[in-house]
């Protein structure tokens, strides 16, 4: 409950540097096991195509988790997150090769919400292959 960033030191416009996260089929299988979401669209190419998807796609919650990481590592305490939400605008397609897909995630402080609660809002951007994969991705974090 102790973020390492001081509310007073943060300004609207403060940026969290963009990072790259690489995801391959093995990562998705591991995440399926850890999360309990075994929907075959995340590991079975034949099934994914049969229901009209271009290929296997990453769990939305997987992309969301990586986007959260950019914020929690910046704040210094994952428990400082007060609110977090995303819209899954486009699936992250994960081809069956040694490269997989790359998700680029960055964030920016867009509002200082409450001087007393010391909360700030960050808008997160996440793209894969140049396409936006998360929409309205926002986090509210309580700073010290």
């Amino acid at each position: 409950m102790t973020a390492k960033i001081s509310y007073d030191a943060v300004e609207v416009g403060t940026e969290v540097p963009t990072r790259e996260f690489r995801v391959n089929r093995a990562d998705l299988v591991r995440y399926a096991g850890a999360s309990g979401d075994f929907n075959p669209i995340h590991w079975n190419e034949k099934f994914a195509r049969e229901v009209g998807l271009p290929d296997v796609i990453a769990h939305g919650a997987y992309t969301m988790a990586q986007a959260a990481r950019v914020v929690t590592e910046w704040a210094g305490d994952p428990g400082a997150l007060v609110e977090y939400g995303v819209r899954f605008t486009r699936p992250v397609v994960v081809p069956n090769d040694d490269k997989g897909a790359v998700i680029e995630i960055g964030a920016k402080v867009t509002a200082k919400l409450d001087d007393e609660a010391r909360t700030v809002r960050l808008d997160i951007t996440a793209t894969s292959g140049g396409q936006k994969v998360l929409g309205r991705a926002r986090a509210v974090v309580r700073l010290v």
Partner: protein, 156 residues
């Protein structure tokens, strides 16, 4: 076929307690490649003021999704086609992080049902409470059951 609007507002009974274990949190963090010690090292967690290791923020989704899956998505009366379901939108409000040793129950509520261009759009809220009955987090999940091709044709 559009889902029955009369399901809006339906509240399912609280789930049996989900017991959060240190190794499950470790497994989840490792699946993300997230090496923050607060997820795996009780000492690091205590340094931040927590009684034990905490879970990554989206871990709660695995519990609320399981609850929604078992009770809502698989509700035969509701009749959602899970094979065509994708995750549309996800929000969380946190009172505190999930931590090892928690015994969590989820109450799932259907907030809304919409039909757009043949797609069924279902919003489910999951209220998560600990054993003492204290609020831990609320999850807002939107699931989209994409129209089968034939149904898209019909809706045009």
């Amino acid at each position: 076929m559009a889902l029955d609007q009369s399901f809006v507002g339906r509240t399912y009974p609280p789930t049996a307690a989900y017991e959060v274990g240190r190794e499950k949190i470790r497994e989840f963090a490792e699946s993300l490649g997230d090496t923050n010690p607060v997820y795996t090292d009780p000492e690091a967690a205590r340094d931040l003021g927590y009684p034990d290791v905490i879970a990554p923020p989206t871990f709660i989704f695995t519990i609320t999704f399981k609850a929604a899956g078992k009770q809502v998505v698989e509700d035969p009366q509701l009749g959602l086609d899970y094979s065509r379901v994708v995750h549309g939108d996800q929000q969380f409000e946190y009172t505190r992080p999930v931590r090892a040793g928690d015994r969590l129950r989820v109450t799932s509520i259907i907030d809304s049902i919409k039909s757009l261009a043949g797609n069924d759009i279902l919003s489910v809220r999951g209220e998560v409470h600990d054993e003492a009955g204290d609020h831990v987090a609320t999850s807002f999940t939107t699931l989209v059951a994409r129209a089968a091709d034939a149904e898209v044709e019909e809706s045009r």
